[in-house]
């Protein structure tokens, strides 16, 4: 059952569940952060509306800088602004930032210890018809290896808004992973959120396996948990929206309680959130694991649903992974 303490959206399993793009939450969060803190500035590389930074740029034109299609410059200019006390948010598609400008993020922002916030929209395969060039499924891997960089992967628009607002005050660089498509809203304004904390969204008394999910796929994971419950299989589902710093103690407890772990992410299996969880558990409390994600392939055009199914990240695939791990 859904964890009542978290005050989650009880209508999340309805067919007409409210759906909002995760990037919308970023736009609203940045606007709110900008209203609260005059040092917040926004920079974009020609994707202002697409990344929802337009909500900020329209309200605060004097604190918005349009750098054009120049993601490397985007990152390093933000570093310079941060050096003067600003709190810069930079936005583009994840493929280009932190994709194209990785070294600038590493050196001018993180190595330099500048608190720039990097919003990478259109992460994951569910970008859809634009095809593989625009589907960032390597961004978690390349960001979580950079010292100092906090890596956030909110599950819905409300969590994205909270993550954006809280990232303003971390004093560190932060990467916020955002998805393009409309995503079912699972949390509510009352759901607690803290950077670095994992939350059990779906509870059971005698879980046979634990599932750790991040981003929008959390919804499909919860659907799988519900379906499995109807079949008499008990699982617990954790929302891991902070990939770095990793909630190690919570993961160890989760593994101890459930005895098996499946990870679910819209990302390459190699190097992603599942790898981070495996690194933690292998060292502290090894349990059998299965990994749901893209298995060393590039994306392609299609509808989000078609692609999620094709690459084995749909509800059916999650249930299959549960059945598989229960036999181990």
């Amino acid at each position: 059952m859904l964890n009542p303490e978290l005050k989650l959206n009880t209508k999340m399993f309805d067919e007409k569940v409210e759906q909002v793009p995760i990037r919308q939450g970023f736009g609203e969060g940045l606007l709110a952060a900008g209203e609260k803190n005059l040092q917040v500035v926004g920079l974009c590389a020609d994707l202002t509306e697409s990344t929802k930074m337009n909500l900020f740029s329209e309200k605060f034109p004097n604190r918005f800088i349009q750098v054009g299609v120049a993601e490397q410059n985007l990152a390093a200019v933000a570093s310079g602004l941060a050096a003067m006390g600003k709190i810069p948010f930079i936005s583009s598609y994840a493929m280009f930032s932190p994709g194209r400008n990785w070294e600038q993020i590493r050196t001018t922002i993180c190595y330099n210890d500048r608190p720039v916030k990097i919003a990478g929209s259109h992460a994951g395969i569910s970008v859809g018809p634009d095809g593989g060039t625009h589907q960032a499924i390597e961004d978690i891997a390349i960001t979580r290896v950079i010292p100092r960089l906090v890596v956030l992967s909110p599950c819905d628009s409300i969590e994205a808004k909270k993550a954006t607002m809280l990232s303003t005050d971390t004093g560190t660089p932060v990467y916020i992973r955002l998805a393009r498509e409309k995503t079912p809203v699972m949390t509510t304004e009352s759901t607690p959120f803290e950077i670095g904390k994992a939350q059990i969204f779906w509870q059971s008394t005698k879980p046979q396996t634990g599932i750790v999910a991040t981003g929008a796929l959390l919804h499909r994971t919860l659907l799988a948990a519900k379906e499995l419950e109807e079949q008499g299989i008990e699982v617990e589902v954790m929302n891991l929206s902070t990939i770095k710093p990793l909630a190690e103690q919570a993961l160890i407890e989760f593994a101890k309680k459930t005895g098996r772990i499946i990870t679910v992410e819209e990302h390459q299996i190699r190097g992603g959130m599942g790898s981070a969880v495996a690194e933690c558990l292998a060292k502290n409390f090894p349990v059998p694991m299965e990994f749901i994600g893209v298995d060393d392939l590039f994306g392609q055009s299609g509808t989000p649903d078609e692609l999620i199914e094709h690459y084995g990240m749909d509800t059916k695939s999650i249930i299959k992974a549960v059945n598989k791990i229960l036999k181990r």
Partner: protein, 297 residues
């Protein structure tokens, strides 16, 4: 700011001492870059001892001008100048590139927080300086008192990001930004015009709406005047293309691209044998190229 004859003499002496210190540091380090630091010593001297608004006793002073060294590999001249200006003891230069030293092989703020930026990977410094200039403009409009200086190499003109930053600075009319290009015509693999022709450099910068000044990068008066002139330019950033002689101050090293990335003792041996390179360099500097007798002779 006008410069007096006495000041010019003082600056020339300083520059020579800065060159001596950086060569001493490179000899002890046994690795590092020689040509660029030597040829930028005059410009660093003018900046730290004449032009920059700064306080070595209070490096965090918020009203200071900002100096971003983009081509971090020439940091021996940055460190040497900062030491001579009083930021840290000159003695500390001996730790250059050693384990635990604040003077990392390429500048790193974690070790030396008084640096404006960590640098090394080429082509990113101008962007950071543009960010600083933008921040000042956001806060103070056209009346800000702080100036932002970006020091670039000519090899970095091959980096696409340099042009991304130049374009943005031109668009934003960053009058508070002065960039300096060390036009020494060399890079690791050879002479710039063979590796990747850059000319006409001045036309390229003018095309992005920058004010361009070309100077002799070893003439103290011209250097000081150029920085002063840049302050008076309204509505545009300024780039100073400083024509320099790679390895300036040690005639045996001058104009030879092979000295780009070698320290004395590990440079080309056709003019000076490896074991004599340090001694020859220091002797040339201490005698001002043989014009005066060295106290060591």
């Amino acid at each position: 700011m006008e410069i007096t004859d006495e000041k010019l003499i003082e600056l020339k002496e300083k520059a020579n001492n800065i060159r001596i210190s950086l060569i001493e540091a490179l000899i002890l380090a046994g690795s590092g870059h020689t040509a660029g630091p030597l040829d930028m010593a005059d410009i660093f001297t003018v900046l730290y001892f004449h032009t920059l608004k700064h306080n070595p006793k209070e490096p965090e002073w918020s009203e200071r001008d900002r100096l971003v060294l983009s081509n971090g590999h020439i940091c021996p001249v940055l460190y040497s100048t900062m030491a001579h200006a009083g930021y840290f003891p000159i003695e500390e230069l001996k730790t250059l590139r050693k384990f635990g030293s604040r003077l990392q092989g390429h500048p790193h703020r974690d070790f030396l927080p008084m640096l404006e930026t960590s640098s090394g990977p080429l082509g990113t410094g101008l962007s950071q300086a543009v960010g600083m200039a933008l921040a000042d403009k956001i806060d103070h409009g056209l009346t800000g008192k702080r100036r932002i200086y970006a020091l670039l190499s000519d090899g970095e003109q091959e980096c696409g990001q340099t042009w991304e930053a130049a374009m943005l600075a031109g668009k934003e009319k960053l009058h508070n930004l002065t960039a300096v290009i060390d036009r020494n015509n060399i890079q690791i693999d050879g002479y710039t015009e063979n590796v990747m022709p850059l000319e006409s450099l001045s036309d390229k910068w003018r095309a992005w709406n920058w004010h361009v000044i070309e100077i002799d990068g070893h003439n103290m008066e011209e250097i000081a005047d150029a920085f002063s002139a840049a302050e008076a330019i309204f509505g545009k950033p300024t780039v100073i293309i400083a024509h320099t002689i790679a390895g300036r101050g040690v005639p045996e090293f001058e104009r030879d691209y092979r000295w780009h990335g070698s320290p004395p003792g590990k440079g080309p041996t056709d003019k000076v044998p490896a074991d004599k390179q340090g001694e020859v360099a220091l002797n040339e500097l201490r005698t001002l190229g043989g014009k005066i007798r060295s106290e060591h002779q």
